[in-house]
Subunit: 148 residues, 3 copies
């Protein structure tokens, strides 16, 4: 829970350059919908399979001034540990994300669950080996930019 609190904080407080540090070097970050996920599709609205790709993504968003136009507020729920092995855990965690637009309006932007594989390396603490963001709605804004 402390890990997820930190994850949400770097995104919502506009310190998103620290967001890739939540992941292992070799990782999978995928944003998809429940419908696609149930059909076993690996494609998603966002796909990255290394920490370097996550860093590139953030750099591109900064250049495009995406963070000027809106911001997010994550509320991350209680985790359910599905499996635990030596140094590795599979965890499912629900979330709600509000989007606060530059004009002041606030809306419930996305709901869903994280399907995680978390590794515990003694040197770096907890890291995400996998975070599949399964959105409940089929129609997540395709302009989706800031990480969920």
């Amino acid at each position: 829970m402390a890990f997820n609190a930190q994850y949400a904080r770097v995104i919502d407080n506009d310190q998103v350059e620290q967001w890739p540090d939540c992941f292992a070097d070799d990782c999978l970050y995928l944003v998809t919908t429940d419908e696609n996920h149930r059909q076993g599709m690996q494609a998603g609205m966002i796909y990255a399979d290394s920490r370097g790709m996550l860093q590139d993504r953030i750099a591109a968003l900064r250049e495009a001034n995406v963070y000027e136009s809106h911001r997010y507020r994550h509320l991350i729920g209680l985790p359910v540990v599905l499996k635990r092995e030596a140094g590795l855990a599979e965890v499912e965690t629900p979330f709600m994300v509000a989007r606060i637009n530059r004009n002041g309006t606030t809306e419930l932007f996305a709901t869903g669950r994280y399907l995680d594989e978390v590794v515990d390396s003694e040197a770096d603490g907890l890291r995400l080996k996998q975070r599949i963001v399964v959105c409940d709605s089929q129609s997540i804004d395709t302009l989706l930019a800031i990480p969920l």
Copy 2:
């Protein structure tokens, strides 16, 4: 908190046949409004006083294909323990529930609090002897179907 995480998960992930297992055989599940609750009314929008009644309810919802039309996402807050005795606790816990409609729209559907009596039986772990779902709004959709 782990119990509530599991409670929300079986509902939101469409494994609602497991939802009655969260309750003791002899139980009270009531969905009501804050106004009705303060007036001491026992009637509610949903009333069940045994685990069998909860199972019947789920079976009926399945037959009516209710789960095709929309889904929920629960975010359950931090519990306040009001009373603790041998093997029994009274707990109050806030919640928000979003409804994701088939057309893709997401709305904040219900907010409120759970008033629980939780029993700890060594054989089965935690079970709800009582869950009164007190909704904040007077006008919860009367088509209310999926459990809160």
Copy 3:
């Protein structure tokens, strides 16, 4: 987390006379926006620097029957401890607040984060020496009345 659960409960359950007890005698309670906060402005939509001021505020709201017209539901997220010293901790915690209007409508009213200084006095348990409520949106309802 137990402290924040209790904080939200007294506000949302209309026991708001107990809300000032969450604060130290000598305290700062400030409701502001992210934009103002980043510019270092101390002014805010609500400002109080003693527990007595908080009590006065609640008394005024009661007289004006503010609690008749709407209510809140807080969902408080996971805290991030930023600093910990003897008897004092700096903590940041995200929140979402829904407003339930008398006509039954529910809306996502405010999102943001609490910037807290929490003191642990042996006699009274945890108390807020400072709670700065940093709202994400610039346009929080100026009729803002019930504490966030």
